[in-house]
Each structure stands twice: as structure tokens, then as C-alpha cells.
């Protein structure tokens, strides 16, 4: 049983809030089922990454400050998005490093790393009888080091694989390219749409070729992009956020 004590602020990124509430709900329910004290600050908006990745970090400053104000009272901030978490940790360096800013940067976690590294939960005993392809979202993989990038010569580890490998009935399929970018890239997806879509198509083809029913990831942004291409081209694949798989857990 988990002996964790502390208040958790649930950070639901803007695009999840508006377009994929089910991912937020799954994350919340999962944390609640684990018996944790979770609250969702109503006034939260976004981490500021869309502006910053477009070069407009200075414009994003106010958004950063808002984020810190919303979350600094919590012991931990947990989010179903590796990319946004990485942005808070890495790029809030332009703010004055007050105690609040430092606290928020240190204590903001992506869901999988929170489960494994903070709660030490690696086997929820879930049942998910499907063939699943894992899309390793880049900011989670190479930024938060949720796994070992295929370029590196370190002992292989992957938090996502670890969490899913014990699920009953779940078969993790092997991909030809284990961690190539899907091509979303934030505003890259709209300012360089041709390459973005081509990269997505190629990822989907890899998952399809290797027999995936579902593509899962730690980031809904990648999945939103892949889902958009899947639906446009009527591919027989579904996307599902890892929180939704983990939330099939029945304690």
C-alpha cells in the first residue's frame, strides 16, 4: 500500500483540457484510486510552450508566472504530458528563481515517472488484452529521460515499458524504429505541415506493419497528430493515452 503523503496539483495541459478531457479524467481517477490527495486548480491554463517553441519565450513569461502561481502551494504537480512537464522544468529558467519557481520546477512530474520514481508503483495489475505500440514522445524520452534514447550506449530502460510490461494480456509490439519523432513538434505541425504529416504517416506505418491495435504515448499532443492522420487515411489503428490504459486498473 502507498504511504505517500502530500498534496498533488493536477496539471491538465490546455489541449487536453479542451479536446481530450478523457485523458485528464483518467489521470485524476487513477491518482484518486491510489488514495492520493489530488486537486485541480481551476485557474490553470497552459505551460507556455507553444509560444516559447515559436521563439516567443518573452511573450510566454506571463503564462509561466501564472503557472507557478497556480501550482506553488502543492507538494507535487503531476501531469499526463511529458512535453509540458519538460518545459516547466527546463525552460522556466528565464523566470527569477524564487522559492516558488524552484519548488514548482523541481516538483512537477510526468505521470509515469511520478508513479515509478515517487510512488514506487510499477505493477498495477491491470488487464488490457491488446497489441500496443509504444510511441516514445521525444521530450519525455530525451528530455525527461523516461527511457534510454536509441542513440545512447547506456543500459536500456524505459519507464513506459516497465509500467505496461506487467499488464495482463497486453502485448507490446516491436517497432522498426523504436523512438523516431512523430513529427508533431508543437507549432512545427502547422508551420511545416508537409514534413510533419509525412513523419506521422511513417510512424503510423511502422506501428501498423508490426501489428499494433493501439498506439499509446505519454503525450496527447503526439497522439492528437497521429490520430488526425489515422482518421484522414482510415487506418485501422486507435490512439490511447497511457493514463487511459493505466486507469483500467480495478483495485
Amino acid at each position: 500500500m502507498i504511504t505517500f503523503k502530500g498534496r498533488i496539483g493536477l496539471f491538465i495541459p490546455c489541449y487536453i483540457d479542451q479536446f481530450y478531457p478523457q485523458v485528464g479524467i483518467a489521470t485524476l481517477e487513477l491518482l484518486e484510486k491510489l488514495g492520493l490527495d489530488v486537486a485541480y486548480p481551476f485557474r490553470q491554463t497552459c505551460c507556455g510552450q507553444p509560444m516559447a517553441n515559436s521563439g516567443c519565450e518573452e511573450d510566454a513569461r506571463k503564462v509561466y508566472q501564472k503557472f507557478v502561481a497556480n501550482f506553488s502551494s502543492f507538494d507535487y504537480v503531476v501531469s499526463p504530458s511529458g512535453s509540458c512537464v519538460y518545459h516547466v522544468r527546463k525552460h522556466y529558467n528565464i523566470l527569477e528563481q524564487t522559492e516558488d519557481v524552484k519548488k514548482v520546477r523541481q516538483n512537477t512530474f510526468e505521470l509515469c515517472e511520478f508513479l515509478l520514481d515517487v510512488l514506487n508503483v510499477d505493477d498495477l495489475g491491470i488487464h488490457f488484452p491488446h497489441k500496443v505500440g509504444i510511441h516514445q514522445s521525444c521530450h519525455g524520452l530525451r528530455g525527461l529521460k523516461l527511457g534510454t534514447g536509441s542513440e545512447l550506449v547506456f543500459e536500456k530502460q524505459s519507464k513506459v515499458h516497465k509500467l505496461l510490461s506487467k499488464a495482463k494480456g497486453l502485448e507490446i509490439i516491436n517497432l522498426d524504429r523504436e523512438d523516431e519523432c512523430c513529427g508533431f513538434g508543437g507549432t512545427f505541425s502547422v508551420f511545416q505541415p508537409d514534413i510533419s504529416v509525412k513523419m506521422g504517416k511513417d510512424r503510423i506505418a511502422d506501428h501498423q506493419k508490426n501489428g499494433a491495435e493501439y498506439i499509446t504515448a505519454t503525450d496527447t499532443s503526439c497522439l492528437m497528430h497521429l490520430e488526425g492522420i489515422i482518421r484522414r487515411n482510415n487506418k485501422p489503428l486507435k490512439t490511447i493515452h497511457i493514463a487511459e490504459i493505466l486507469n483500467t486498473w480495478k483495485p
Binding site: C14, I16, D17, Q18, F19, Y20, P21, G24, I25, L28, Y40, F42, Q44, T45, C46, G48, P50, M51, A52, N53, S54, G55, C56, E57, D59, A60, K62, V63, Q65, K66, C138, H139, R142, E151, V153, F154, E180, C181, G183, G185, T187, F188, V190, F191, Q192, P193, D194, I195, S196, V197, K198, M199, G200, K201, D202, E227, G228, I229, R231, R232
Partner: protein, 455 residues
């Protein structure tokens, strides 16, 4: 110059060819993976290499002077060039001093950067690139599309066609061995006729004054040994302190570049042969300006292995020419803005910031972080497109205000739900060119939470 985005769009029009290009380079990346995974100490090597370069850059002036002193002691003539035009002039003067007209050149990205070939040709000098890939693109009168594999954008059939026209090979012949033999015969004549041999430099060793040139074709040696005059061209960042540092880099260069344990030829040039002349030209051409920029200086660690190109999912699907700069791909996208931010600033956006380039880099250049920083610089210098600049300012306003954000969010969801498809998937909706928009839910998470968890 057209933007990377537009050039990429054109490249992508031939999808099977894009796939072929992507797979050819991915194959090289996989060979690299296989080679580096043979070395359990690979990550330690990367760190060591990075630190050697760090230390060298911190004392670059004194290492260059040490190198010069040693080289002069060895009987080498050392020249310094502050920029491309001084460099080109220097090369021409050496050639003219010997009343030479025929030059053979092995691979040198520096000479590409300085546009040496057209400069010499204008002065009536015949310059022959002797690296096979370089010779191919020289015949085609186009720049390299990759720094290690300059003709990777071409299929063997196209090379066959070109060689039929230029070298008289059989029409329709595309067998690589046959074409290579033809090039070999052609180049052999050029080597024997050449008065001057030019080479690039991979490493210049400060303690000995030695120049190290790595090739797979032995063309640097063919040129240097046959000609009376040898000229080696190096950027100021090519110097390394000691001979014992060299092994760190030679172990990494070929593994990173092509997946070979070592290049077929690693040639060490120390002093001229009796009766011959050996020159080295040390070129700045903007490098000391990069050195003065704390955030960008470690881009000077680059050993030009090309691994960041092979791994870059954007490069593989847009081709080297889409970048419009001598050095394409991720490393080129962080070097070129130093040269001209207005012209090359758009390259900082030719990336998803996936970070694979930084992971694959043997000298641990934080390429994707520098791309991020260049983006900030582009915006700070008001070089963003007005549409991007305005939309980001508006987005920031909305996202800094909870109520505005919820309002706009709701409006967006309703708009997607009720708009007719033709209106929704209009020309401005670049997302919708190849993708469906998300199906808007009836409630946001925020709305759901207020109803279901309100305390």
C-alpha cells in the same frame, strides 16, 4: 532563397523518392548504432571528446600559435586568413606562384563554405574534386547535400546517366562497381596531371604540427603524393592539443559518420617531401565570432561526422539542399544563423526539437537546445513572420487569463463542431491539409471537474 518549409514541400512531392532518401540515411544511422554499441565506453568517449574540445576552445589562440610554431619548425608554410575572400586569395597566390593551372582537391567543407572552386575557376584554374561523391556533384554543378555523403540525394541510375555524358560510360549502366572503376580511371589521370593538391583537415595537432586527414578513398594521399605543392585548408577549430587526443576522435569520427571502425585512410602530414612545398591555411571566417558567444560556442566542437543529419527525421525527409546552406541538417541550422540570421533564421524552425541530434553527436553539442535559442533570437530581432508573431502574442494574452482561455477554448470547440467541413478545412488551416482536427468533446476537463468534483 526559399524557406526550408517550401523547399521541403517540393522535396516531398515525390513520396517514393523521399522514402528512398529517408531509408538510405536511416541505414547509415543504423550502421552507426551497430558500430558504437561495440564500444561499451562510447558515452565516456563522447564526454572525453567534448571536454578535450572544451579545453581547446578555451585556449584556442595559444593552441593555434603552438601549432603554427611546430608546423614552421617542420618546414611547413603557415598562412592565416580572416575570411573567405582572404582565404581564396591566399590559395590562388600559392597556385600562381608556381605557375600552376591544375589543382586536385580532396574533401573540404571549408572550401565549399568559402566558394573556392568558382573563385579559382574564374582565375583560369582547373579544380577537380577527387572524392567520388564530390566529383559527381561537381559534374552536376550543384552543392553537396550532405557533408560526408555529398551525393546521397542521387540514385545510382542518375549517376550512371551523368557518367555516360561526362565520362563515356555505357548508356544505361548503373552498376556501382563499374561506375566507380570509370571514375577511378578518370581521376587517376587528373592526379597525375595536377600541379597542386588541396585537402581539408580533420585534425591539426598542436604539439607536433601534424595535419590529419581522414578519407575512405585515399584521394587525399593520391593528390598530395603526386603533386609538387600541397595545401591544407583548416578552420581554426580543427586544432587539438596532443597526439594522444587524436585517438579519441579517430575512434569516434568514422563510427559516427558511416559506422566504420575507422576511415580506410587516416593520413598524417607532418612535413614536405624534399623539393616539394607544404602549406597550411588557417581560416577564421566567422568562427571567432561564434567563439565569443557563450551560448553557441560549443557548436565549434563539431568534427563534421554528419551523424546529426543521418538521424534527423526532418533532414531525411527534406534533403540537404532544402536548407540552402553549405552545411545542412541540424548542425548547419545552428551554424548558419551566425552567418546571417535574417537569411538562415528560418532553419532554426526546421526541426521538431526531438533532440536526437544532440544524443547522436559524438562531441555532445547541445544542438536542439541551440535551435531553441536561435528561435528566441529570431523573435527578438523581429524576424518572425508577422502572422507567427501576432498569433503568438495573442495566444500569450489568452493563456495568461483563465477566463479568456476558457472562453476561447469553448469557442474553438463549438467552431469545430458546427462549422461545415469546407469552411473548417480552409486554406489557412494547415493542420487540416493532411490531418483531421480532433473531435471536439461536449465539455472541457475544467467543466467536467467543476460538475463532478465540486467540493
Amino acid at each position: 532563397m526559399i524557406s526550408h518549409s517550401k523547399a521541403a514541400k517540393i522535396f516531398l512531392q515525390d513520396e517514393p523518392r523521399t522514402d528512398w532518401h529517408d531509408q538510405a540515411l536511416w541505414f547509415v544511422r543504423q550502421k552507426r548504432d551497430g558500430a558504437v554499441k561495440q564500444l561499451p565506453e562510447w558515452e565516456k568517449l563522447r564526454e572525453t571528446a567534448s571536454q578535450i574540445k572544451e579545453a581547446t576552445l578555451s585556449n584556442l589562440g595559444s593552441y593555434l600559435e603552438q601549432f603554427e610554431k611546430q608546423a614552421i619548425k617542420n618546414g611547413v608554410q603557415v598562412h592565416w586568413a580572416v575570411d573567405a575572400s582572404e582565404f581564396n586569395r591566399c590559395v590562388l597566390e600559392i597556385i600562381q606562384k608556381h605557375k600552376a593551372t591544375k589543382v586536385v582537391k580532396s574533401k573540404s567543407m571549408l572550401t565549399e563554405e568559402c566558394h573556392l572552386n568558382p573563385y579559382l575557376e574564374n582565375a583560369g584554374i582547373e579544380v577537380v574534386d577527387t572524392d567520388l561523391g564530390e566529383r559527381i556533384i561537381q559534374f552536376r554543378n550543384e552543392p553537396p547535400s550532405h557533408i560526408v555523403l555529398p551525393a546521397i540525394h542521387l540514385k545510382k541510375e542518375e549517376v550512371g546517366e551523368l557518367f555516360h555524358e561526362k565520362l563515356g560510360t555505357n548508356k544505361g549502366a548503373s552498376d556501382p562497381a563499374y561506375l566507380t572503376q570509370a571514375a577511378r580511371g578518370h581521376l587517376r589521370k587528373k592526379f597525375l596531371q595536377a600541379d597542386v593538391a588541396l585537402t581539408g583537415v580533420n585534425f591539426a595537432v598542436a604539439e607536433t604540427g601534424a595535419l590529419v586527414v581522414c578519407t575512405n578513398e585515399g584521394n587525399a594521399d593520391m593528390g598530395v603524393n603526386a603533386a609538387k605543392v600541397q595545401i591544407h585548408c583548416m578552420g581554426i577549430e580543427k586544432v587539438i592539443p596532443r597526439t594522444k587526443d587524436l585517438g579519441v576522435f579517430t575512434r569516434m569520427l568514422a563510427r559516427s559518420a558511416t559506422g566504420q571502425a575507422v576511415t580506410t585512410y587516416t593520413s598524417h602530414y607532418l612535413k614536405p617531401e624534399k623539393g616539394k612545398e607544404m602549406h597550411v591555411i588557417i581560416v577564421d571566417n566567422g568562427r571567432s565570432e561564434i567563439l565569443a558567444k557563450p551560448y553557441y560556442r560549443n557548436s565549434l566542437k563539431c568534427i563534421r561526422c554528419g551523424a546529426c543529419m543521418n538521424t534527423c527525421p526532418v533532414y531525411r525527409r527534406s534533403g540537404g539542399h532544402s536548407y540552402g546552406y553549405t552545411i545542412p541538417g541540424p548542425i548547419g541550422s545552428i551554424l548558419s544563423p551566425n552567418n546571417n540570421l535574417k537569411k538562415y533564421g528560418n532553419l532554426a524552425f526546421a526541426s521538431t526539437l526531438c533532440g536526437s541530434c544532440s544524443n547522436v553527436c559524438p562531441v555532445k553539442i547541445n544542438i536542439h537546445e541551440q535551435l531553441y535559442n536561435w528561435r528566441q533570437q529570431v523573435a527578438a530581432d523581429n524576424l518572425l513572420s508577422p502572422i507567427k508573431s501576432i498569433s503568438m502574442k495573442m495566444a500569450a494574452k489568452v493563456l495568461a487569463n483563465s477566463r479568456l482561455y476558457q472562453l476561447f477554448g469553448k469557442m474553438a470547440r463549438v467552431a469545430v463542431r458546427i462549422s461545415p467541413r469546407l469552411l473548417l478545412y480552409n486554406k489557412l488551416n494547415t493542420w487540416g491539409e493532411g490531418r483531421e482536427l480532433p473531435i471536439p468533446p461536449n465539455y472541457s476537463f475544467n467543466e467536467w471537474y467543476r460538475i463532478n468534483r465540486k467540493q
